[in-house]
């Protein structure tokens, strides 16, 4: 009997290729019973070591046995040019072997390139920033990054979102008037100043909508405040004289 030493195989095809290489078999003319026998012994061994045999190996075992049976069956004289039952498996083995070779090539490319290093520390470089319009914001962000982010967002979603629905009597129209009044009293302001005293989230939201609505109506204009997460608001329509005086 043979003692079999186990190592990792990339899958059933890899194991078959191993048998073929080790025994110097002709891949185009596989001795199917012998290979099937060895394959089953390997599975048996895995089982005896209490290793769960991966599904792919079991499927392959079934395929091998099926081919073996078909090889034993007498050929149907009427069926013209029936394909060798092994043909499909041989095709797969050769195809896999081909990519396995390329994987080795990739491995040596990787090895070669591992010796090459790029500059990675740029803090010492003096840079003078230049204003330009921007593009390339999404460079290097792939669809995978996007879906990974989606999953992460869902995973981190607050377990219970308590929506206390108490009806607040706040409408967009009201807040539009509020914004215009505020501007009239305080002059140009910012969004944060506008909502500073508000406690209910919904009121803030409605106010923001009101601001957007007013922007759309060209009653006010918005601008980004440099360096801050805030938006500057200034009136576009003429306001009551007292507003001008107040600033």
């Amino acid at each position: 009997m043979y003692r079999v030493k186990l190592t990792e195989f990339e899958g059933p095809l890899d194991l078959l290729l191993f048998f073929i290489r080790r025994d110097e078999l002709d891949i185009t003319n596989i001795p199917i019973s012998r290979i099937t026998q060895e394959f089953l012994e390997y599975l048996h061994l895995m089982a005896s070591l209490d290793l769960e045999v991966a599904g792919e190996f079991i499927v392959m075992a079934a395929t091998l046995m099926q081919i073996k049976v078909r090889m034993l069956l007498p050929r149907d004289e009427n069926a013209p040019e029936e394909e060798d039952p092994r043909a499909e498996l041989i095709r797969r083995l050769i195809e896999y072997k081909r990519f396995k070779e390329m994987a080795q090539e990739f491995g040596s490319l990787e090895e070669e390139h591992r010796k090459v290093y790029y500059r990675r520390f740029f803090e010492g470089d003096t840079k003078t920033l230049v204003e330009e319009e921007d593009d390339g914001f999404l460079k290097d962000i792939s669809l995978f990054n996007l879906i990974a982010a989606y999953k992460s967002a869902l995973d981190q979603m607050p377990r219970k979102v308590v929506h206390e629905v108490h009806l607040l009597s706040v409408t967009v129209d009201e807040q539009m008037s509020f914004v215009m009044d505020f501007l009239r009293v305080h002059g140009p302001t910012t969004l944060l100043q506008l909502v500073a005293h508000m406690v209910e989230k919904i009121r803030i939201i409605v106010t923001v909508i009101a601001v957007l609505e007013l922007t759309k109506n060209k009653a006010i204009a918005l601008a980004v405040v440099d360096g801050r997460d805030d938006i500057a608001i200034r009136p576009l329509t003429s306001l009551a004289p007292m507003a001008l005086a107040s600033r």
Binding site: L15, G124, K201
Partner: protein, 230 residues
């Protein structure tokens, strides 16, 4: 053509190793660290004496070389160590590079919001915030500025909140023909779940390593058939 330099304080090989080290490091290297790294040089190749002063004179020598050869970079003392840096007069050119670099990445939070909008659209800001648990004002603004997200209408719910959705630009970036091409939640789960087969493979590998350690013997690859009972 180039003015002659005095002879280097150490062998060329040492200068080369120093240059390569300073080039590839991801943080400034102190003279102490450099000394330590040079200790891997074989006994006879090592500079003598091998100390901070030797390193400093090498750095000074290399900088003279770069100057004479008209290179646009020098080795500069930074944060207690030494590092390559381009000369300040090229700062304006590098600024253009850096701007591009800083714009490159979407923040994690922007990406998450973008993902939520992509999958849940049309979606209101409160809905985005409910999923992400944080205020979405800033990211929404950023995403809209980048033309990845746009307002697509208003919900008919009370307060008629704005509805957000993704743009054509978004589809273009991710190589999607339409929104139906986005990976489905089921596909995402498939991608994110560890295949069970891998668990087994890892077990097998561990077992193998343990056995090899026990037997204390080396082995090439594959199934080894050993003539057992004789």
């Amino acid at each position: 053509m180039t003015p002659d330099l005095p002879p280097p304080p150490v062998s060329r090989q040492i200068l080369d190793v120093l240059e390569a080290l300073l080039f590839a490091t991801d943080e400034p290297l102190s003279t102490g660290q450099l000394t330590e790294l040079l200790e891997y040089l074989s006994e006879q190749d090592r500079p003598r004496p091998l100390n901070a002063d030797t390193i400093l004179s090498c750095i000074a020598y290399m900088n003279r070389e770069y100057e004479v050869q008209g290179r646009t970079f020098r080795i500069k003392p930074i944060a207690g160590g030494y590092q390559f840096a381009t000369l300040p007069e090229f700062g304006i050119w590098l600024g253009r590079l850096v701007r591009e670099r800083s714009k490159r990445k979407l923040s994690v939070s922007a990406l998450e919001s973008l993902a939520v909008i992509a999958y849940k659209q049309p979606v209101t800001k409160p809905e985005i915030e409910a999923i992400r648990g944080v205020n979405a004002d800033y990211v929404l603004r950023t995403l809209m500025e980048r033309n990845l997200v746009t307002i697509v209408g208003r919900a008919s719910t009370p307060g008629r909140p704005l509805l957000y959705g993704t743009t054509r630009e978004f589809l273009k970036h991710f190589g999607l023909n339409d929104l139906a091409d986005l990976p489905k939640p089921r596909e995402i789960d498939e991608l994110m779940a560890e295949a069970e087969y891998e668990v087994e493979k890892r077990m097998l590998r561990e077992l193998e390593e343990k056995r090899e350690a026990e037997e204390g013997k080396d082995e090439a690859s594959g199934l080894h058939l050993v003539d057992g009972d004789e």
